[in-house]
């Protein structure tokens, strides 16, 4: 940590004056956190931490940037194994079961003492809490969270004779509009692209949920990949390319998709709301952001990172960690964080702040992710999550590349997942 001389001097003087008492009461916290979108987010976090420390002089927070979500998990787990557990961390919201299995984290319900603290636990959007809760207890507090949204190119819609202000409402409309764009452009432009590398399970979950189907049980011990509703959802995804000729064959790359949209090689994309600011600054055409289309219901899984408090720390450290997390997720901070990053404000109160209200008024697409939360569902999260997600990823890719029918692929993924989850289902 950098200490500026004047501050160090003041601290030293203060320390000398109040003798050892301040030191005895002060708490040191270590926190790992990931950044998985562009921009200088580490600076934003550093500034927040500095501000917090000046408000709470007896709590020192060392915030360590640890890469993307996977890197952060690896880093925190290795630190734990080495006996150097952090007191708190921001990690993937779907890491919950792995963390519980390693006995790594504590429930916030066991830490809260006052009514005010209990109210704070209830202040978040319930949709964002789902991934952090198990058996009625809360283990993860929402921090950098997102949903999948539909970006559409208004100019392309107009050129194809569609109403530029009307995005597709349902699956059928999306397929038709996409096919219309494709035809009108003489094959120069695709209608729609849904990424199928990186996080295929995430996108598939959206399709399945829009078809009224949830892919896993509440307790993370069972999955329902081969349900007819899931098969139908995957069939629809495949049909966008095979039947409607509206989406390219094969898998679609997560990493280059935004560029595809910006270069207008596709009229619509499904992507995380985290790309909003980048698209806004790079696109030289008129675009809109909408909720994902529906079939039997609207829906998108949530995504992103939660705060966790680790088991292997003293009571004082855990209390201090909670103080810090409460401060970080307070409405004004959540609003500022949302504006600077594009992530969602995590509580309704955040959207009632002046700052975020003004921002949304000025740039309406910023509110779409929040509005969609009403139709949100938990991101796919089970015991042995890595292997289970990978089984589903493979099934989605096998179907999209024509190696298997959606039904075959999903029933294979189901078998694989059941094998892995056998010992948890009991």
């Amino acid at each position: 940590m950098r200490l500026r001389p004047p501050f160090a001097l003041t601290a030293l003087t203060a320390g000398l004056l109040s003798a050892a008492q301040v030191n005895a009461d002060s708490v040191d916290l270590t926190m790992y956190y990931p950044v998985s979108v562009g921009g200088a987010l580490t600076d934003v976090v550093d500034n927040l931490v500095e501000e917090f420390e000046s408000e709470y002089p007896d709590i020192n927070v060392e915030a360590i940037y640890a890469g993307n979500y996977d890197d952060t998990r690896v880093r925190a787990m290795s630190a734990m194994e080495a006996g150097d557990t952090p007191q708190l961390s921001v990690m993937f919201s779907i890491d919950l079961y792995e963390l519980l299995e390693q006995n790594a984290i504590v429930a916030f319900d066991d830490l809260v003492e006052t009514d005010e603290e209990r109210d704070w636990l209830d202040s978040f959007y319930p949709g964002l809490m789902e991934n952090g809760q198990l058996d009625g207890k809360t283990y993860g507090i929402p921090f950098q969270r997102s949903t999948i949204v539909l970006f559409w190119n208004k100019d392309a819609f107009e050129a194809a004779g569609l109403d530029p202000e009307t995005p597709p409402e349902n699956w059928q409309e999306m397929a038709e509009m996409a096919a219309t764009v494709r035809e009108a452009s003489g094959g120069d432009q695709w209608g729609v692209m849904v990424p199928s590398t990186g996080y295929p399970y995430w996108m598939f979950q959206a399709f399945a949920y829009q078809n009224g189907h949830r892919l896993m049980s509440e307790d993370g011990t069972e999955v329902y990949f081969d349900d007819p509703a899931a098969v139908e959802a995957l069939e629809y995804w495949v049909s966008l390319a095979s039947e409607h000729n509206a989406m390219p064959d094969g898998t679609i790359e997560w990493g280059t998709l935004r560029q595809n949209f910006i270069e207008q090689s596709t009229a619509m994309i499904w992507h995380t709301t985290g790309n909003l600011t980048a698209v806004r600054s790079e696109a030289d055409f008129d675009f809109g952001v909408a909720m994902l289309p529906m079939n039997t219901q609207r829906g998108s899984p949530t995504g992103g990172g939660n705060f966790y408090i680790f088991e292997d720390s003293t009571e004082a450290e855990q209390r201090a960690a909670m103080t810090f997390i409460r401060w970080m997720t307070a409405p004004e901070r959540a609003a500022a964080w949302s504006i600077e990053t594009g992530y969602m404000g995590v509580s309704p109160a955040a959207y009632e702040t002046d700052a975020l209200q003004r921002y949304v008024e000025d740039f309406a697409p910023a509110a779409v992710a929040r509005d969609q939360l009403e139709h949100g569902t938990a991101e796919l999260s089970t015991y042995q999550g890595g292997r289970v997600r990978r089984a589903l990823d493979n099934a989605v890719q096998a179907a999209l590349t024509g190696q298997m029918t959606p039904e075959e692929a999903l029933s294979q993924a189901q078998q694989e997942a059941e094998g892995v989850l056998r010992r948890y289902a009991r």
Binding site: P248, T256, A395, L400
Partner: protein, 294 residues
Amino acid sequence: MTLTAHRKMQLYGALLLLPAAILLTAFAYLPTVTTVINSLFLPGFRGAPTEFVGIENYQVLFNDPTFWKVARNNLVYAVGTIPTSIALALAMALFVNGKLRGRGFVRMAYFTPTILPMIAAANIWMFFYAPQIGLFNKLLGALGFSGVNWLGDPNVALGSVIVMSVWKEAGFFMIFYLAALQGMPPELKEAADLEGTRRWSFFWRVTFPLLMPTTLFVLINALINAVRVVDHLFILTKGGPNNATNLLLYYVYENAFSFFDRTTAATITVVILLVLGVVATLKFTILDRRTHYQ
């Protein structure tokens, strides 16, 4: 030399070896031993102690179809990259060894891919390969062909990864060949010219045999690299679609850090070590005997 002086020399030698010995033990031998041990145990579940299971982990691994798919992918990858990149490296070295305008520039151009970090190179190639906006498909489109989904079609994805690796490796190997060619005594060429030897037979009878030590070195490096691929898979394909480009070391990483299955990761690692050990032994015993050192 007296006995004590001899002792002193021995101690001196031992001390010189010590730093390397410590580093190797800490970062190579100890991890190898613990990996072998880990592969023989099954970790406890919900508080149960670790259990010795002998070769059971290996049996489970050999019944895992994904492991065989990954192993087959890696074999295809090795066969696809090693001979091609070596042949290309040799050709490039011969080319820039000759009298040539702007020779320094060409040499540098060939070497450029090597100095790029793997992740950066993979990011560049991801945009080459991108189906609609990518360079390759734009070129194909200009020639009137419809594009290929280079990384998204399981039939071509592994090939695409191989092409990128060859591009990355060949320039690196060229440097070794170039150094060897530069070190070759010019009298050989002069003598051959006096005798009226044709260029082709001079290459096969003189140059190529003299390059054998370099070839052996490059071959071993290429083999190690073929098993060491992990970084560009993160960027390009993440092993997909449907494991079409998953290679051994990436599979080890996935098991260890995505699935938290250290046991399987250790087991695969031991299998890789054994196979590499066998190949290295074969190379040093058979190829080395056929290699002519000057």
